[in-house]
Amino acid sequence: MPSPPRRESECYLDVQGLRKTFIDKKRKVEAIKDISFSVAEGEMVGFLGPNGAGKTTTIKSILGLVKPDSGTVTVDGIDCARNHREAMKQMAAVLEGARNTYWRLTVWENIRFFAGIHGVSATKEKDYFEYLLEVLKLQDKRNTEVRNLSSGYKQKTAVACALAKKTPLVFLDEPTLGLDVESSYELRAALRSLQSEEERTIVVSSHDMKVIQDVCDRVIIISGGRIVTDESIDGLLSLFRTRNYRIVISQNTNMQHAESLLAEINSGFPQAEISETPNTIEIAVDFKNPFEIYELIETLRKSGAPIESITQEQVDLERAFLEIVRRENGLCG
């Protein structure tokens, strides 16, 4: 499949010192305060933040839909303020809360139109448009007017229209908002597939942590108009990864007296939480160092306690995000 042109520069999108204050009924509202970040070519970056954090204002400022008070945005080395037209050739977007498409046009007519006003010829790129329909599972809806589609298909049509412009940089602001689980999953799968095949630079803003964790390499967390975290997803999760383990043992006749075992665990691992059922004992423990787990296993082995299962508590992006935002609000508040 045809790919958008590859670029030379390592840093594809560079945002420096972006600020925007709105005046609402004579009250100043600082929507974004000194936002700076860069995105490398071919990277898929997630934008996370609570409501009103400044995600959409940041994206719209980059796209030139909102005029920032200060700051610079360069895309592939092009200054967006000085050379807006050239910069716009590099960018496309699906924007939150907007319809993004014409409801009285069919899916195909919308794709043709939005690609066309970006200078992409429908005649030359027909195969690519067909490919987008296939990846986004829109072939059957090709000649259906958008007003007659479900919200999932409408959203996928908006994404298809943005991708049909073949721009190297794409912004997707809340692409899965209002979608059911299946549609959201399909869209995520399509984004992963498109990104791996075309190596486009994609910025996804979402409330849905699963979307970000599923499709992005890196996450930028915005809170109160500021960037509070800019990390790779793996790096961020490792920061919050704990040594929380849950060990289940069964109480059988081969085991020494359970009471003496529990006493031994309590003295060796005072932080452990123990719960008992008639057949099992569950030990939840946050080990202080990576070697403590061996000590506990050795204690269990000596007592003859049969281990049923050992599980490590998994940290997901949602927990990391909540932790960061709470910490940030605590600091600010």
Binding site: M88, A98, R99, E109, E145
Partner: protein
């Protein structure tokens, strides 16, 4: 890029016009009915009641100009309001071609559709009322086009207001009646009126359609003023639109409705 964008814009404008065909025909019927009411009303009270050339032919030409002005500015201004309300306006602003050019592309096709519509209405009007007018298209078309461009100037200015205030349909109604007021200003008493939009166009059209004048026979001074007024009002409209666009971007209003 420009040619592809122009083609895409024309295709979209035409497809949407076909999807809203009922709206097109209802506009034709409404304009025709309004004309009939005015025509028979004026005939009943006497043509001198309106200063539209003092005759029923004057009413004809005045009405034709009014239709051109109406469709000229309403398409532009209503489109901005409607695109903002449906949420597609921001997507148009993402085009490297720029919204102003996309509006112009769409308007250029709309102008053909509208002129076709006005020609049909005029033909029906002439047929049903039995009025005869000089239809020298070589002389009429340049006047039509220039008046349409003046109307686009007004349209861009109103579109700018729509960018900021969104729902200004009530204001459009006021402007519509204001335009009728422009046509009623008697030239003899107010010579400065020729510098207002549409008035010189109406005068030239009356001379062509009622008195059989050719555009080349019009006084050079009149043609110069007409051309200057066309350029100035289009420029002013575009300027106001650019100011409103900046304001809307500064206030983050483009995506709001």
């Amino acid at each position: 890029m420009w040619l592809i964008a122009l083609k895409a814009s024309w295709r979209q404008t035409f497809t949407l016009a076909m999807r809203y065909l009922f709206n097109f025909f209802s506009a034709v019927i409404t304009m025709y009915i309004v004309f009939l009411l005015m025509f028979y009303g004026v005939r009943a009270v006497g043509a001198g009641a309106l200063d539209l050339g003092g005759t029923l032919e004057g009413l004809f030409t005045g009405y034709i100009i009014w239709m051109i002005v109406l469709v000229g500015y309403q398409d532009l201004a209503y489109n901005v309001a409607s695109e903002a309300q449906t949420g597609t306006l921001e997507q148009l602003y993402l085009s490297p071609v720029g919204y102003k050019w996309l509006a112009f592309f769409s308007q250029s096709l709309n102008s053909l559709l509208n002129l076709a519509m006005i020609s049909v209405i005029t033909a029906i009007m002439m047929f049903t009322t039995g009025q005869k007018l000089n239809l020298d298209m070589l002389s009429i078309l340049p006047v039509f086009i220039a008046v349409y461009i003046q109307a686009c100037g007004l349209g861009f200015a109103l579109a700018g207001l729509a960018l900021i205030f969104k729902r200004i349909q009530s204001f459009f109604q006021i402007v519509t009646f204001g335009v009728i007021g422009l046509f009623m200003i008697p030239w003899a008493s107010f010579p400065w009126a020729k510098y207002l939009p549409f008035t010189m166009g109406q005068h030239l059209l009356q001379e062509i359609m009622m008195k059989g004048m050719k555009i080349t026979q019009a006084p050079a001074g009149h043609l110069t003023v007409f051309a200057a007024v066309t350029v100035v009002y289009l420029g002013a409209g575009l300027g106001l639109f650019a100011l409103a666009e900046n304001k809307a971007k500064a206030m983050g209003l483009l995506g709001q409705y």
